[in-house]
Amino acid sequence: MLTIENLHARVEGKDILKGLTLTVNPGEVHAIMGPNGAGKSTLGNVLSGRDGYEVTEGSVRWNGIDLLALEPEARAASGVFLAFQYPVEIPGVNNTYFLRAALNAQRKARGEAELDSMQFLKLVREKLKIMQISDELLHRAVNEGFSGGEKKRNEIFQMAVLEPKLAILDETDSGLDIDALKQVAEGVNALRSPERSFLVVTHYQRLLDYIVPDFVHVLAGGRIVESGDKTLAHRLEEHGYAWLAEHGEPAGAQA
């Protein structure tokens, strides 16, 4: 279970998150929507431990531990996964090698046995089938020369292999055409399980037609200003984020 309480975070001296509170139970899919600049990507970066994000107040408890006290690699080993909005190209590092190094590093950190190359290959083949991606991607350098769609699918593929307990999808729909979006969503849906939680961060409701959330939250001015079920996303799509202001955004949020 993830419990975020009154989270304040600052980037380059600017306050971005200003009191975000959110609880995510195992198996739940939460969508975080909001206008540009609301702090959506900051949330994912803070949770995964990126440098340059300073938490000034509040707490994040993750299955009983203080998530914010952990190094990024320890957060990963504890089951947190961030699907990047802009996956990084790493020339010279083979995708398969990278993924095996990552999986074994996590297993080692958790005190589990590392997989040898045969065991790993078997696992990869299973996951490739689920993700419907060609194994040609595996032989290339990490994300190097990948199309936008390939990069996002590679993120989901990594998620399939690493089997996190909390997956944060940071604007995974950005830059995808409808076919690529469907493929990515199918991959995510195949990974839904009673133990795995998702935070789906998006600007548009479109993604949520394919990854149907249990809860939808609207992030504005650095905090959650509205929560509801999936119908909230449709209302937002119809009326736009401006509708929120009329509809009852807390006073002072625009200050």
Partner: protein, 433 residues
């Protein structure tokens, strides 16, 4: 103050000049020694030595040669490389070691022998190389080498001969009682349409405090092809100065891969002349100084003929207080129209106290030339580091992974897979873990 007051020069002059009994050779030796004594070691006001100070070296004294070299025990596993079990020539502290070499059953068309043997049998073919070169642009080490080198490698491949088995040249620095200096002179020639794979390896045993110099002439006649791989892993107290002159005839092609790992002060000069129409040279290299190592690589590539091509890609990784220097100078001479030259040098500093100085230079005096050059010095990509860590790879491992990937690119086109993987393994083993 007289030059002989410099300990390095004084200790050099104290040794008696070797006498070969070959008139032109002895004359060249004494001429070069006199020139060395007159000029001494260059200081940093000399452009070619701007970033490599020899002040500390100038204060040291070296005994010339190692009288015990022929008897020093050397474990052959020191220079074992995968796939290299063909012809081999081994030198220990500058002295040829027949017991460690393998000159039995040389393939047809290959002449491979120590220079001392070649001089004893028939000196005349070596006259041009040993008596005339380096007068015009020779520096202190070239003169020193010309005066004092007693041995080296003579390698010739007959026209049309393709030598399949790689030829392995091994230079071992073995710990001696004194600080010693040794000098080797190599002459390599590939006849028209000849083919050769050459692996040059420098290794050392711990605490080998010595200066080694090597001067190599490589001539590729028209259509010849040479794959030359250099693994420099000298002992940590060794000063190594290598100077290669490479000449390529029409349609000749050379591929050079260099790994600079060892030594305390290492200098490598490569002067290449693309002298014949359509000649092509590819150079790839990595230098990885750490501790207080200083590694200086100087490329000078001259396009002299129509339609010649050169491509150079070098990586530097410096850690601790180490210093790397790279200069890549390409000249496309008048008349070398339609040539194609590229040079890149990317460098990584792993420590705030490490330094790399890089200087690409391009001079074009011909028409319709395609040229590109660039150099960078930087740190590891923070975004890539975070990406790896976010997947669970610990920081130190992530740094190692990225650094290895950065270096590996220059090995990618090395055709011998076993050797490539071995060298990649050596690179990886050098990285901080």
């Amino acid at each position: 103050m007289s030059e002989s007051a410099v300990p390095f020069v004084a200790s050099t002059m104290a040794a008696s000049l070797p006498v070969s009994g070959i008139g032109w050779l002895d004359e060249a030796r004494s001429e070069n020694l006199a020139a060395f004594a007159a000029a001494g070691l260059p200081d940093t006001r000399v452009e070619a030595w701007k970033y490599t100070a020899l002040r500390a070296l100038a204060q040291r004294r070296f005994a010339q040669g190692d009288a015990q070299a022929a008897a020093r025990p050397v474990d052959p596993s020191l220079f074992a490389l995968p796939g290299l079990d063909g012809p081999r020539l081994v030198f220990v502290n500058g002295v040829f070691r027949g017991d460690l070499s393998d000159l039995a059953s040389l393939p047809a068309g290959l002449v491979l022998q120590p220079l001392s043997d070649a001089l004893a049998r028939e000196p005349e073919p070596l006259r041009f190389a040993l008596s005339r070169r380096y007068r015009e642009h020779g520096d202190a080490f070239a003169r020193l080498n010309a005066a004092l080198a007693l041995d080296g490698v003579v390698l010739r491949v007959a026209a049309g001969a393709k030598v399949d088995a790689p030829v392995h040249l091994v230079f071992v620095g073995a710990a001696a009682e004194d600080d010693i200096a040794w000098h080797l002179r190599h002459v390599i020639e590939l006849g028209e349409e000849a083919g050769l794979t050459l692996v040059e390896q420098h290794v050392g045993t711990d605490a080998a405090r010595q200066l080694g110099t090597a001067v190599t002439d490589i001539v590729l006649r028209d259509g010849a092809r040479l794959h030359h791989t250099v693994l420099q892993n000298a002992a940590s107290e060794t000063v190594l100065v290598r100077r290669d002159a490479l000449q390529l005839g029409a349609a000749a092609q050379a591929w050079l891969h260099v790994l600079e790992l060892g030594g305390s002060l290492v200098r490598h000069d490569l002067r290449a002349e693309l002298a014949g129409h359509g000649a092509r040279l590819d150079t790839r290299g990595v230098f990885m100084p750490r501790g207080r190592q200083h590694v200086d690589t100087q490329l000078a590539i001259r396009h002299q003929a129509l339609g010649t091509a050169s491509s150079s890609s070098w990586r530097g990784v410096a850690d601790d207080r180490a210093r790397g220097v790279f200069r890549g100078a390409i000249v496309v001479a008048p008349g070398a129209d339609g040539s194609d030259a590229s040079l890149d040098n990317k460098n990584l500093l792993l420590s705030p106290n490490a330094e790399i100085d890089t200087k690409p230079e391009l001079e074009i005096y011909a028409d319709e030339v395609q040229a590109a050059h660039g150099a960078t010095v930087g740190q590891l990509d923070e975004r890539a580091l975070f990406y790896l860590r976010s997947r669970g790879i610990p920081l130190v491992e992530a740094r190692t992974l990225l650094t290895a990937a950065f270096c590996r690119a220059v090995l990618d086109d090395l055709p011998d897979e076993a050797l490539r993987e071995h060298l990649a393994g050596l690179l990886a083993a050098r990285l901080p873990v």
